[in-house]
Subunit: 300 residues, 2 copies
């Protein structure tokens, strides 16, 4: 079984939420995601990642999940001798104590994806982006219909609902259309901050994965402090999803799952009536799904 030689590199999308803002850990003042070599000394990929993230940033990583492995030739600068395989991970971090001087910093992820935050309604920039994309669709007569449908679906145009999970599809459309700086669209400002190489695409992958995951796995709690109020929990989910949620229904959803329990304490720091504090029930299996199957199973 012969195998080709390659350089191996690990890239991390580390996410945290401070107050109402979802953040991602970056290096180079927000221009790149933290990354490092995968070395012989490392026991496994996960172990390798945990090790240097812990070393370099001082933050223990809670939940960790593999995102994707890239090796496209046009994505990496070939050394001429071998190519680079990049294995990306999504990690969730609880605390975000002020980073020391010169240390990696946290940046709000909507800096890079302003069109993804719909908590205050659809951003104004979306309109302009959609128009750019539609003009791009018209330019290629042979693929026009397909492109139009993709745009309408991804951006929730013409009656289709906005789907927060499609962060990656939206970014890829914008990349294809040359609307983002990475792919040529210099003049156009509403498309957010760019990043080194394909790091912004990796971040989009991480956001999309996390947004999808919070719907069926109780991973949000990896981002919460030990005890929290229901509104804090809701605000965290809203920050991640970039959407506002219906409060009574959110509460109903949460306590129908038996995921949390009251600590017995209350806090009056919220302004109005004191809120009960809750904690995550660690007895709950991580595998446990929020929702059920979608197949019409027959039991005889």
């Amino acid at each position: 079984m012969p195998t080709g030689l390659a350089h191996a590199e690990l890239i991390a999308v580390l996410a945290a939420v401070t107050g109402d803002e979802p953040r991602v850990m970056t290096i180079r003042s927000g221009d790149a995601l933290p990354s490092g070599p995968f070395e012989l000394a490392h026991r496994s990929l996960q172990a390798g990642l945990r090790e240097w993230v812990g070393d370099q940033t001082g933050h223990p990583v809670g939940y960790l999940e593999q995102l994707y492995t890239f090796a496209d030739r046009d994505r990496t600068q070939d050394t001429g001798y071998s190519r680079t395989i990049s294995i990306s991970y999504l990690g969730l971090v609880r605390e975000q104590a002020a980073p020391g001087a010169g240390k990696p910093g946290w940046h709000g992820w909507y800096e890079y994806f302003p069109w993804e935050d719909h908590r205050k309604g659809a951003p104004d920039s979306l309109q302009a982006i959609a128009e750019h994309l539609q003009r791009w669709a018209e330019r290629d007569t042979s693929r026009r219909d397909h492109r139009r449908r993709r745009i309408e679906f991804a951006f929730g145009l013409h009656g289709a609902a906005w789907n927060e999970d499609l962060t990656l599809q939206r970014y890829e459309l914008m990349y294809e259309a040359g609307v983002v700086a990475e792919s040529g669209g210099e003049e156009f400002v509403a498309t957010g901050r760019s990043m080194f190489a394909d790091h912004r695409r990796i971040l989009a992958t991480g956001i999309a994965r996390l947004r999808a995951k919070i719907k069926y796995r109780p991973v949000v709690f990896e981002l919460m402090p030990e005890s929290f109020t229901l509104l804090q929990l809701q605000r965290t989910v809203e920050a991640l999803a970039g959407l506002t949620l219906h409060k009574p229904n959110f509460r109903r959803l949460i306590d129908s799952q038996d995921l949390i329990e009251e600590t017995g304490d209350v806090t009056s720091e919220t302004g109005g009536r004191p809120a009960k504090l809750f904690r995550y029930r660690h007895a709950v299996l991580e595998e446990r799904a929020f929702s059920g199957s979608k197949l019409p199973i027959s039991r005889n």
Copy 2:
């Protein structure tokens, strides 16, 4: 940005369904999954995989999706100079024309996972497997409770429902408990056929991913012929899920999605009343989800 050197290898889980049996492509008479080196000549990982699968097997791969990247030290035989990174893919193949002599062969995937097929009720072997696992849980008093809960959840014991998606979790429990041949359980026959290295685990990963995916993405159609009856479609889904489905509800689910359309023809090959033939509506976006969101979204 320094990067460590490693060998890169691609591994494929290629799935097809013949009649009522889900199959996987294998080499070495069913002992291993097809794999090959990732070389400089390849444009990307996907392209590399498509290339040698096409060359070696003569089957064009339809849908292709990355599964997981492994590099654990104990999983691969180190060359002493570098380690091996294995990138696994799940591919769906439509036709399964008889493979030529000496060519790779297809094996029913329940040969390797007999306990996963619940179409004729829970297999007898499940009982014995569950008892083995429970004895294993009792042996470690400190982790006993956690293990018990994992077993009950994964195998649907004590009132919990069997969840077909948990193929990987079940295999991993069995591996941990030393019930499968790979991890020492030689005497025990009900645990199916074993494979080279960690290939059976990779197959479990592929099965689990496919079972989960058919619930929210219309990927089944990648396994269907150009035109098919509704029962054929149902049998294919049932083969993959290892479950029987409720016929009227399956039909309702399918046509509420607008995924297929009548060809206008019928076939009388099914025995009774002739069945209408359908085809997949290719206009449908692949991204299109079967079901909706599980967050209580608020629209103001």
